[in-house]
């Protein structure tokens, strides 16, 4: 894990950019998954590539299936997108803000006082 506080200025800027990029990607992936799931009608089952509805034949009164191509995001893919999103956010925490040297010395003093 890189400690940005001990890195030269160029590298700490790089860390901040990576962290921001990771969080943005995490946000985009998480939101995309959620939006697709909401658009699909909060489907609580597995993902589907077709949707089957039932119609009734007027003459015989028989119920019959009508299948049409329609992608519906299921909970397993929603879970996967949220997991990837969470993972990227977690990874972004590894690229911490460089802490100021004066704060570091303060912390050291208080520890020695104890």
């Amino acid at each position: 894990m890189p400690d940005a506080g001990l890195l030269p200025l160029g590298l700490s800027v790089h860390c901040r950019r990576v962290r921001l990029a990771l969080r943005l990607v995490a946000l985009v992936i998480g939101c995309s998954g959620l939006i697709l799931w909401l658009v699909g009608g909060l489907h609580m089952g597995w993902s589907k590539s077709t949707e089957t509805r039932t119609e009734i034949d007027e003459v015989t009164g028989l119920e019959y299936p009508v299948t049409e191509n329609k992608y519906v995001l299921g909970v397993e893919l929603l879970g996967a997108t949220l997991a990837v999103s969470g993972g990227l956010f977690g990874l972004s925490l590894a690229f911490r803000k460089p802490s100021r040297p004066d704060k570091q010395s303060d912390a050291g003093t208080s520890l020695t006082q104890l």
Binding site: S47, K48, T52, V59, T60, L62, E63, Y64, P65
Partner: protein, 206 residues
């Protein structure tokens, strides 16, 4: 002259009506349905959501006598490749070797041998079919409830040709372990019992 016309008209009417009158006897109904209304729904219980599939590749013939419904015999055939579930991965598994092995066993067959406990009320007959069900090459004797509705002369409304319709509805349960459908495997994920709903109509043009 007028009398001659009248008698000719009477003969013409008699000839036109005759097939309907002479039809009193067994009628052969063809269950092949290009409109794909004939269908079988299958349900299997599973933890996240029940597996709800359909199949529309129905064919076969049933001989039905409105005067003697107990004498009904016939065969309903279902194309295994027409089995459908909305999840593409699940459909792949369903048709593969472990489950239905559609390439080796292209049809599911239901033979009606005899009917018992027959009760007729108007156009509807309820009964119990004693027959043979063949799934994945395994044939088992089955006894299933059935409801038959004889719709005389209604084929013209459906197919634009004169004739009769026979609607057959049956709900029953089979066990996949009985037919070697991935028997004994993943029963915690997919139930052993398969609920089947048969909804088919046969046509008998005059």
């Amino acid at each position: 002259m007028k009398r001659l016309y009248k008698s000719k008209l009477a003969w013409a009417l008699a000839i036109a009506v005759a097939p309907g009158v002479l039809n009193a006897g067994p009628i052969k109904f063809d269950f092949k349905d290009p409109k794909k209304v004939n269908n079988v729904v299958f349900l299997l219980d599973a933890p996240l959501e029940s597996i709800n599939g359909t199949a529309v590749g129905v064919s076969g013939t049933v001989t039905f006598d409105p005067a003697k419904p107990a004498a009904t015999t016939g065969k309903i055939v279902l194309a295994t490749s027409s089995l459908h579930v909305d999840n593409p991965v699940m459909k792949g598994h369903l048709l593969d070797e472990k489950w239905m092995h559609a390439s080796k066993f292209p049809t599911i067959e239901f033979i009606v041998e005899k009917m018992t406990k027959v009760k007729t009320s108007g156009t509807t007959t309820t009964a119990t079919i004693v027959g043979k069900l063949t799934v994945k090459g395994v044939t088992k004797k089955v006894t299933v409830p059935v409801r038959l509705t004889y719709l005389k002369g209604l084929l013209i409304k459906r197919n634009r040709v004169p004739g009769d319709l026979l609607v057959l509805r049956s709900d029953f349960i089979i066990k996949r372990s009985d037919y070697g459908i991935n028997a004994g495997i993943s029963e915690d994920k997919v139930s052993d019992e398969i609920e089947l709903k048969l909804r088919v109509a046969g046509a008998a043009p005059h």
